[in-house]
Amino acid sequence: MFRLPMVPRVLKQLFNKPATNPFPARHLPKSITRFLEKVAAGKAELVLPLEVPEGFRGKIGYNPEGCTACSLCARVCPANAIEVNREEKTVTVYAGHCIQCGQCTEVCPKNNLFMTKEFLTATTDRYSEEMVLT
């Protein structure tokens, strides 16, 4: 017999809500920056992205206070995203290189490294100030 199990399903779906989450706006605005300005001014509404769960590994965060530059993090980092200068005791974290495995945050003895929930990190310059943490 000729069976098309999809037909009743699509007809039903026609009256259901679409599955798409229209982030950041229902239709792509002409200019994202202008749209964001409007949102800030309260003239437009931003459709929020879905919530991320507890324990999500987003963009890496670094708190230089109390860091001893022990370089354990650099030793386990698979992406060469952490640079340690042991003489000056400084650590530079390149978030643009980071692959968000979270290995450094586990190995850090002082908990100076942590994963944030931020995931909208697209940028045209991966060495910009937001993407390089010192």
Binding site: L4, M6, V10, L11, Q13, P18, A19, T20, P22, R26
Partner: protein
């Protein structure tokens, strides 16, 4: 003679406008409905218009191996032939512009013209994908012409048998709704023909599941693969207008009813009601024969397309014809 020329000029201008605008609207609605059925939000209704504008601004690339004049002429030929169909189609209860000059057979051939233009364009573009696509388009045409021809013959036979003059003329068919002319067997017969028409429509419009000539995932848009810029925009227009023409033909053949006679209002209001009713009819036919078909099935193989049209379509239409004849003899 001058009257015909005047009619022709006005007709061509107004029908071109109607074809373009109607094509955009109908494609927009089709895309939106398909998106909703697939649980997507889908584009705006005016998206086809934006697509067209964007294409017009893009560079018109002619491939190195192409035959330029055929390659460039194909889209214009496709569009022009679709507009010609419009001159012979009755719309919203109005008689066709060129009434008395063309008939169903002519429309059948004109409907084949855009497809042929695409075949020429495909062969002329000199890409292996386009060549395979063009071959497939020809095979598909051979496939669906059989049931389509059978449908036309059934209508003409019934009209002639009912003793009407000009049995092949669409004006006659539109003026005499077919369902009023036949008995129970005939109704079953015409339902079969209607089903065959619904199956033929997607192939005629190169839509899924019969879109083997353009198959995105196999041939990367097949015979349109090399087209870009203005040429592609022209094809886009032609396909949109052809959708209206094909659906208009289905409506004219099977649902030529009017409703304005039931309202006691002015002529202008009557026209408005009539046009609205016609639009609703067109959209209903589109939903069943284009949108629903393309979202609920996987693409057929080219051999299967021919098999379906010849075996299934052929059987259905000939059975329909037989029932109609049986009905006529009773």
């Amino acid at each position: 003679m001058t009257e015909i020329f005047l009619k022709l000029i006005i007709g061509v201008v107004s029908m071109t406008a109607l074809g373009i605008v109607g094509g955009f609207i109908i494609q927009g609605v089709d895309r939106k409905l398909a998106a909703l059925m697939q649980a997507r939000i889908g584009p705006l209704l005016r998206q086809p218009w934006w697509d067209f504008l964007k294409l017009m601004r893009k560079e018109n690339v002619v491939p190195e191996h192409a035959v330029p004049w055929v390659y460039n002429a194909a889209p214009i030929m496709a569009f022009a032939s679709v507009i010609t169909i419009f001159l012979y189609l009755p719309f919203a209860g109005f008689n066709p512009l060129m009434e008395g000059y063309g008939d169903l057979i002519l429309i059948m051939y004109l409907l084949a013209m855009p497809a042929l233009a695409m075949v020429f364009g495909g062969f002329a573009s000199g890409s292996p994908y386009a060549t395979i696509g063009a071959q497939r388009e020809m095979v598909t045409m051979i496939g669906y012409e059989l049931p389509l021809g059978a449908i036309v013959i059934s209508f003409a036979w019934k009209m002639a048998q009912s003793g009407l003059a000009h049995p092949f003329s669409l004006k006659t068919i539109a003026a005499n709704p077919i369902w009023n002319l036949v008995g129970p067997f005939g109704i079953i017969g015409f339902i079969l023909l209607l089903l065959a028409m619904i199956v033929v429509t997607p192939a005629e419009l190169s839509k899924g599941p019969f879109d083997a000539p353009e198959a995105k995932s196999e041939l990367a848009e097949g015979l349109l693969v090399e087209y870009s810029g203005r040429n592609l925009a022209m094809f886009y227009l032609a396909l949109g207008a052809k959708m209206i023409a094909m659906l208009g033909l289905t409506v004219a053949l099977f649902f030529p009813y009017t409703i304005s006679q039931y309202f006691q209002v002015d002529t202008t209001v009557k026209i408005v009601i009539e046009v609205l009713f016609y639009i609703i009819k067109i959209f209903l036919v589109m939903f069943v024969s284009v949108t629903l078909m393309r979202v609920s099935m996987a693409r057929f193989r080219i051999t299967q397309i021919v098999e379906i049209y010849w075996k299934l379509g052929g059987t259905m239409t000939f059975l329909g014809l037989f029932l109609i004849m049986l009905d006529g003899k009773l």
